[in-house]
Symmetry: C2
DNA sequence: TTGTATCTACGAAGCATTTCGTATTAATAC
DNA sequence: GTATTAATACGAAATGCTTCGTAGATACAA
């Protein structure tokens, strides 16, 4: 339940595309960076061993499916990152995040909406 | 400017304690987990080679000082993490963060204040 | 049926990170 | 001065992750 960086990249593809062959995953990865076919294959096999993906071997080209949800993985990674880099302080993290110029006004609006929602739930 | 996990742990100590000897850093690390003295020493030497820390060798026990600011490192790590795990979407990250039960009401208040501040600046 | 393309399996190399053991040097105490 | 303690230097083992090469099997086309 804690994928490595390369594994996470592959999971992103599977979450986005749904169940996919090695060929499709590898082609998708190659849109952003060069990766060898057998590298992707090997990683998917490792991920299968770890239980991160399942696979259907009926046809010659196996079809892989993510066995962990994007939400759970993100939650896991975020908690680890929060502890490691921000000593568990969510507000410090948000401060860095929003202090960056990278956050657009529309994202800021979305974030405000999220906070609204949480407060509504709590009251 | 992108420390490994073990290096980050050490930087946290230096940011917190200020310039410190290997002994102090190692003792501090050992409060949370077991680390050998020479392990900490070696890491500090590597970090020195990388320019992450400087050191004063006047006395026999060298004194190490962080050469990167907590803010810059956090910003760097956060941006990488944001891209890798949340495809660059700050709002998705915040949604995960605040959806977790781990965020206390007081932290929520702080975050609201941060957003207020940013909006004030922008207008 | 022979060649070509495409797939899986798998071992192992290549790297980066972490950890530790050993040698050496310097300070301190007796 | 000698023994003990505590520091640095540094090589190298251990580990984990990523990448690739090669072998073998299967489909398909000429």
């Amino acid at each position: 339940m804690k994928p490595t960086d390369a594994e996470l990249e592959i999971l992103q593809v599977l979450w986005e595309n749904g169940p996919s062959s090695v060929r499709v995953v590898n082609d998708t990865l190659n849109e952003s960076r060069e990766v060898g076919y057998t590298t992707t294959l090997k990683l998917l096999q490792i991920m299968h061993d770890k239980g991160l993906v399942s696979r259907n071997t009926e046809s010659r080209s196996h079809i892989y499916t993510a066995q962990v949800s994007q939400e759970n993985v993100q939650k896991d990674l975020l908690n680890k990152f929060l502890d490691l880099a921000f000593q568990g302080s969510a507000s410090k993290l948000v401060m860095q995040l929003l202090g960056n110029e990278r956050t657009s006004p529309s994202e800021l609006d979305e974030i405000k909406a999220i906070i609204q929602e949480i407060e509504n739930k709590q009251s």
